[in-house]
């Protein structure tokens, strides 16, 4: 488990980067933009908490990403506790032979009261090694 402070200045910076109006993302009632919590895994997650995938990163893509907010996007100014795990892994045949491997990394965000505030699911896709292709 690691902690992520939802810093008002950072929420504002992220809003500007995705062209969201800062009026609702800075100030006393500021809430995060829907994808802001991507910063947790990128900027706060310690190495020992990172999900371990045995994927070849030279042929791995970001396939999909989702955020669930049981009570809406969280407010800025609080610190959330985060746990990371590999939720599932599966594979299926690729269109050109070889196989596609999928891994879903799930992060649960809880507030100071222990309530679940958000769930992030990030899916990585390792493209298939096509048989006969030099790797």
């Amino acid at each position: 488990m690691f902690e992520v402070p939802i810093e008002p200045g950072k929420v504002r910076e992220f809003a500007l980067a995705v062209e969201a109006p800062t009026e609702r993302h800075y100030g006393p009632d500021a809430v995060v933009t829907p994808t802001f919590l991507t910063t947790a895994g990128l900027a706060w997650e310690p190495a020992e908490e990172q999900a371990v995938l045995d994927f070849d990163l030279t042929r791995t893509l970001h396939g999909s990403e989702e955020y669930e907010f049981p009570a809406g996007p969280p407010r800025a100014g609080q610190t959330l506790s985060v746990t990371t795990r590999v939720e599932k892994q599966f594979e299926r045949p690729g269109e050109r032979g070889g196989r596609l491997r999928f891994a879903v990394v799930a992060r649960e965000f809880r507030d100071a009261a222990g309530d679940l505030v958000a769930v992030q699911r990030s899916t990585a896709i390792e493209l298939g090694d096509v048989p006969g292709k030099e790797s």
């Binding site: 992220f14 980067a17 969201a20 829907p34 994808t35 396939g63 990403e65």
Partner: protein, 146 residues
């Protein structure tokens, strides 16, 4: 500014399309700094070339973020319960992105609370989708709908 959309929302309703871009290296770098994604594929020409790409390309979550901005400008932030993106195609420098969205489903439960499903797309100027997404909103029974 209202954070929960008011007024009637029906299947088939859509918001006016909105453009983002042209995508610049500066926009990518700005998002990289804001998000913490410093993967050199997105800002380092030499690194991208060695990895086999013709040029640096945008971060998928940047387009995903633009599409989120599009839907929250339309339907607000507080009512959002889920936002799910699929990354379909890479976005390159100079691309102009067009975001569109349509209400796909509206369900009302016994208490009158509405659950609204929105289908979203962020297309490149070629017409190909860069990102598609769905957003789920809830509204209490007294949201001013007719």
């Amino acid at each position: 500014m209202a954070t929960i959309a008011t007024g009637a929302l029906e299947v088939g309703d859509s918001a006016p399309a909105r453009e983002f871009g042209p995508i610049t290296r500066t926009a990518i770098v700005r998002y990289a700094g804001a998000s913490g994604d410093f993967n050199p594929l997105h800002h380092d020409d030499e690194f991208a070339a060695v990895a086999g790409f013709p040029a640096v390309f945008s971060i998928g979550m940047l387009q995903g973020g633009y599409l989120a901005t599009f839907v929250t400008d339309w339907l607000g932030v507080d009512g959002l319960r889920r936002y799910a993106m699929r990354f379909r195609e890479q976005v390159w420098l100079g691309d102009v992105l067009t975001c569109t969205g349509t209400i796909a489903a509206v369900e009302i439960d016994d208490s009158g609370e509405e659950t609204i499903e929105v289908e979203l797309a962020c297309d490149r100027q070629t017409g190909a989708p860069a990102v598609t997404a769905t957003a789920t909103y809830v509204r209490p029974a007294d949201s001013g709908r007719s």
